[in-house]
């Protein structure tokens, strides 16, 4: 029993260190604060997939009462620990991603046109900014044909993402 408790503590300790490491990357002044705009990146880099709404909820929980534009580590740590321990915002499996693209590919062509994808990404769901759209197109689109072969795209992205 004592061993179990020890190993539970050890797990939490590891989680804390992981969170600390990710936080530190963005702590430019070495004073245990990060810009609130970088919280999304930090959370996502720790393996979580919140959507924008979920992200805003997290931020609301860890912000100061009078928002300063900064998030302090003392507030970030407990919330983030809970997120990781409860495995919130789970990663998306590759085949589910594929299905999502297939839903958008109404005519079942096996690819999406530039205008199609742009329309969905910038008008539906939680829309992309123009910058985000351009970046995705530069990665996903075949520049000669202006087509997005999403199966290849999903595979490529999944490979590129070491766990």
């Amino acid at each position: 029993m004592a061993e179990d408790k020890e190993s539970a503590e050890a797990i939490v300790s590891e989680v804390h260190k992981k969170i600390r490491a990710a936080f530190d990357v963005f702590d430019h002044e070495f004073n245990k604060t990060v810009d609130v705009r970088e919280i999304g990146t930090i959370i996502r880099s720790l393996g979580c997939f919140p959507n924008e709404g979920e992200l805003h909820d997290v931020i609301a929980e860890i912000e100061e009462e009078e928002p300063t534009g900064y998030i302090r580590f003392e507030k970030f740590l407990p919330t983030m620990t809970k997120v990781l321990m409860e495995r919130k915002f789970r990663p998306i499996p590759e085949d589910l991603m594929l299905q999502a693209f297939e839903v958008l590919d109404k005519q079942k062509k096996g690819h999406l046109e530039l205008e199609e994808l742009t329309k969905y990404m910038t008008q539906e769901g939680e829309p992309f900014t123009q910058e985000e759209m351009e970046e995705m197109l530069s990665a996903a689109m075949d520049p000669d044909k202006n087509l997005i072969f999403y199966k290849d795209f999903v595979s490529m992205m999944t490979v590129d993402d070491p766990r």
Partner: protein, 649 residues
């Protein structure tokens, strides 16, 4: 139709869900990329600043070396450039003074064709520049000309391509197109020589329209380590030394600040809460040859106060390891005993009015604190900026000194702008360069650019991959060069001798040995392999590494020591090798070794040095090349077993 409607509704809902899923997934991917980009940046910066910090501390050693190196030849006077004849075969530009536009055009064409400028003209150019700068005050006051804009550029670091691109996009310097260049013209890039020739030439041509501020790299100690000294010696074999001596004078005569319309302050680094423009106008700037301090309080700058919150330069303890370091101790280190060169010099933190101007960085939190990251200057907060600008009735501080991804960055509520003009500074695709144009209204306009080998724009993914690869390699080299010490420490944790330790233990060891503040856990996947049970196979850290340069057959310990210090050793070798022939004479070797020991107050037997010198001249031709020089350390280790040389262990 109802089913049609509900199908349609379902369809809309599933489209929206699909869209959200894709957006969520893609944003996570981008966030990972940003994280990688960010820590890649951290790696480059840490290694860069750690190097600079070491340099500030190694300076005493190198300063001494350089001073004595110039006296080693006794009374040899500086060559008068009038006595230098330019051979018929020389096809580069010929300069006569005063310069005209045809000269600067000739220089531009020549450098585009990789044609160098002859040493004689280089010396003349420097001589004229020195004369001009002597007449200038410490702080230059400019006014924005009617209906024209002043262009302000940041760090160039020897990147000729960026300078030429700026001239192409923005126009050559002239009365119509005045410029301010904000320091760090040299080091790191391969064409520092060409960059300063052009900058100095345009300044001589248009002294009222071309202003050059001093940066922290306009400093001969920095130049020794960061490449400018080497570049000069390689490009000017005969007159390199004379050129370097004259450059040293020119650098120390560069003004330290520029003010536009009494409203905009331009300095290379930044400010501190002690910055006083009146004081700065009155000091004798040419006496500050280097910001890299000798041991003890700086004698080159007026006495400065100490920070009340942190240690003073006098307070910081002098770190000694063992009594009486030996000469060998200084030059090489084993993992068990013996201090490093850095350890033997006091960890002083540089302060002073000029240091603050050339080394400080802005921070977002208020207050002013020592810039421990760099080892000199301050971190200054928005309140410090506000107070200084108010005190002098100014509205804007423009500075450089830090590489920024977009080439520029605004902070302190718009009161501070960082401008950086060397694109792809860390790696191909790492960042853009930028310059500022400022007109009468003093509203800055930013112009960005990026020199590119490729015509196709790299995606974020590709850029991150390239930069990250480079950064990771740099970290791997660091690990390799501390291999024995790391292995010993790993093994202490590996009680079961399994070859594996926990991630936690691994991170702890690496951080304490390598002493770089990096996100080790985040980097772990790129640096070490995991065993099936989730622990780290620590030997895998060293797997990919083979020395990049051919290192002579040496024992493993020594290989990594040489690897770690090869830059320093190369500098020492280059100092000894005055004519840069790639060879030093036994006599020079002997003299220099005597200098080391004199500097450290260590008794070394003359005979022992002679024996050492003779024994490392393997091909017995009376001179020593760099490989033989490196071999010297292996031989020293072998000779340790004899009693004549001081013992290391």
């Amino acid at each position: 139709n109802r089913s049609g409607t509900s199908l349609h509704l379902v369809d809309c809902e599933s489209t929206m869900k699909a869209a959200i899923l894709i957006q969520r997934w893609y944003r996570r991917y981008i966030a990972r990329l940003e994280m990688r980009q960010r820590y890649t940046w951290n790696i480059f910066q840490s290694i860069e600043y750690a190097g600079e910090q070491d340099q500030l501390q190694l300076s005493s050693f190198f300063s001494f070396m350089l001073d004595n190196f110039t006296q080693l030849n006794g009374n040899e006077r500086q060559t008068m450039f009038e006595q230098i004849t330019v051979p018929e075969s020389y096809s580069g530009p010929h300069l006569t003074f005063p310069l005209t536009v045809s000269h600067t055009n000739a220089l531009l064409s020549a450098f585009k064709e990789q044609q160098p400028l002859h040493g004689r003209y280089m010396l003349q150019l420097l001589h004229q520049t020195k004369k001009l700068l002597k007449q200038m005050p410490n702080v230059i006051h400019l006014s924005t000309p009617y209906a024209k804009e002043i262009t302000i550029c940041g760090d160039l670091h020897g990147r000729l391509d960026d300078l030429l691109l700026i001239f192409y996009k923005n126009g050559l310097p002239s009365a119509e197109t005045p410029y301010v260049f904000n320091g760090d013209f040299v080091d790191r890039g391969k064409k520092s020589v060409e960059v300063i020739i052009l900058l100095f030439a345009y300044q001589l041509l248009y002294p009222d329209h071309m202003t050059l501020n001093r940066g922290n790299h306009e400093d001969h100690i920095m130049n020794l380590r960061y490449g400018f000294t080497k570049e000069v010696m390689q490009k000017y074999k005969t007159h390199g030394r004379d050129i370097l001596l004259l450059v040293q004078d020119v650098f120390s005569l560069l003004p330290i600040a520029t003010v536009i319309d009494n409203k905009v302050l331009i300095v290379h680094g930044g400010i501190s809460d002690m910055t006083d423009l009146y004081l700065l106008s009155s000091i004798e700037r040419h006496k500050v040859k280097t910001d890299c301090k000798p041991t003890g309080p700086s004698t080159q700058e007026p006495q400065y106060r100490t920070y009340s919150t942190g240690p003073t330069t006098q307070d910081l303890p002098y770190r000694t390891y063992y009594p009486g370091p030996t000469v060998q101790d200084l030059l090489y280190r084993t993992y068990r005993t013996g201090p490093t060169v850095q350890d033997l010099l006091p960890r002083t933190y540089s302060t002073g009015p000029v240091v603050d101007l050339l080394w400080s960085d802005p921070k977002s939190q208020p207050g002013c604190s020592p810039n421990t990251f760099r080892g000199g200057g301050s971190y200054f907060g928005p309140d410090v900026t506000r107070r200084l600008l108010e005190r002098h009735g100014m509205t804007l501080l423009i500075r450089s000194h830090e590489c920024k991804q977009e080439g520029y960055e605004v902070c302190h509520d718009g009161q501070v702008i960082t401008i950086f003009s060397a694109s792809n500074y860390y790696e191909e695709g790492s960042n853009r360069g930028a310059y500022i144009k400022l007109g009468r209204e003093l509203v800055p306009r930013f112009f960005q650019y990026q020199v590119s080998r490729n015509t196709r724009k790299l995606t974020l993914t590709q850029r991150v991959n390239v930069a990250e690869g480079s950064a990771v390699r740099a970290v791997q080299e660091k690990l390799f060069s501390h291999r024995s010490e790391l292995m010993a420490a790993f093994q202490q944790y590996d009680t079961s001798n399994s070859g594996c330790i926990s991630v936690s233990e691994w991170a702890l060891v690496v951080e304490s040995v390598v002493r770089l503040d990096l996100p080790w856990r985040t980097l772990r996947p790129r640096l070490a392999r995991l065993a099936p049970d989730g622990s780290i196979d620590y030997q895998s850290c060293f797997e990919d590494m083979g020395p990049g340069q051919p290192i002579p057959q040496v024992t493993p310990n020594l290989a990594e020591t040489l690897y770690r210090y090869r830059t320093d050793l190369e500098i020492i070798f280059n100092i000894m090798d005055k004519d840069h022939s790639g060879q030093i004479s036994i006599e020079e070797f002997r003299q220099t070794w005597h200098l080391f020991s004199a500097h450290l107050g260590v008794e070394v037997d003359d005979r022992a040095i002679d024996e050492l010198a003779k024994s490392i001249d393997f091909n017995k031709d009376g001179s020593i090349d760099f490989n033989e020089f490196l071999e010297a350390f292996r031989v020293v280790s072998a000779l340790q077993t004899n009693s004549t040389l001081p013992h290391l262990f």
